[in-house]
């Protein structure tokens, strides 16, 4: 596996990474949104593994494997069982319709590329076009959190945002010290589980996870 094959593979993974985040925004159904999230994490794990292999940073394999196991399989399973048990409407209703949010998402990508355009300061040796990609994913994650009405889709938006951060961490710094990497990983995992529990509680208390009725506390 010589050098430019790896870099071309990484670029492919990066593009698929971006496509899957677009797919998450565009999916009307919650279940498909979660599946796309699983795909999104898979591509992230693939990029991490390839970067680890490419730049011979051994301790990067651990987060790659963890991402593969947890984010592509465990978290989606939690969400699937959650949605199954919650028996709530499966649509992914939001304040703005799908085409408009797609337009906004593409605008986010352009904004990201513009923002990091002349940032001479951010030039990681291995693949410098991942930085704007990561920033784009973060912006799309934000967009998703702000526009979606369902509590679960907000959580998915947050996880999307954290995937973008992980991509940034991996490509810019070849992964931080293992201790920190693992710590961040488990924080995100526990966070996702806690949010799942809370979605369940909201469903019990408000019989529906629509954030519109989550506006009791004012002033």
């Amino acid at each position: 596996m010589n050098q430019e094959l790896i870099s071309s593979l990484i670029h492919l993974m990066g593009m698929l990474f971006l496509v899957s985040s677009f797919a998450m925004i565009a999916s009307p159904q919650l279940l498909s949104c979660i599946r796309f999230y699983a795909m999104h994490s898979f591509f992230l794990a693939a990029i991490t593994a390839l970067v680890a292999y490419g730049s011979h940073v051994e301790h990067l394999y651990v987060p790659a494997i963890l991402t593969l196991i947890l984010k592509t399989w465990v978290i989606p399973q939690i969400f699937f069982r959650l949605i199954g048990r919650l028996s709530i409407r499966r649509e992914n209703d939001s304040y703005i319709n799908i085409p408009f949010s797609l337009v906004l998402a593409t605008f986010m990508v352009f904004a990201a590329y513009y923002a990091t355009g002349d940032l001479k300061v951010l030039n990681p040796a291995f693949s410098n076009e991942f930085v704007p990609l990561a920033i784009a994913t973060i912006l799309i994650g934000m967009l998703m959190m702000v526009t979606r009405k369902k509590a679960i889709s907000q959580v998915l938006g947050l996880l999307l945002l954290e995937n973008g951060l992980f991509l940034m961490a991996v490509t810019m710094t070849f992964g931080m010290p293992l201790l920190v990497e693992l710590g961040i990983f488990f924080d995100v995992l526990v966070g996702a589980i806690m949010m799942g529990i809370f979605v369940f509680k909201i469903r019990d208390a408000f019989d529906g996870i629509d954030t519109d009725d989550l506006t009791g506390l004012k002033g």
Partner: protein, 99 residues
């Protein structure tokens, strides 16, 4: 025949009359005959100058502003999230400009 408060403050009210604008009202009631008065009422008032011109308008303004500002805490979580993201974007733009 002790000095009442009004009497006590008469010199001051007279000296600072431009500030206090003392107002006096005397009402006299008589049934027909002007000479035989049945009732007489006297009322003197001092115009609360500072309160009217400074404190009342200021407090009205502040309370109305604070009533409007309460609208930023409407309870929608999306609104709160957009506060964070908008501030972040503004800061980044400010950073780009000020470089």
């Amino acid at each position: 025949m002790q000095y009442t408060a009004t009497g006590y403050s008469k010199p001051l009210r007279r000296i600072f009359s431009f500030l206090y604008q003392p107002a006096r009202r005397v009402e006299v009631e008589d049934d027909g005959l002007e000479v035989l008065r049945t009732a007489k009422r006297f009322e003197s008032k001092v115009h609360p100058f500072f309160e009217e011109t400074f404190y009342k308008p200021l407090s009205r303004l502040i309370l109305s502003v604070s009533q409007k500002v309460k609208a930023i805490q409407t309870g929608h979580i999306q609104l709160y999230l957009s506060y964070i993201f908008v501030t972040l974007v503004l800061l980044l733009i400010f950073l780009r400009i000020s470089r």
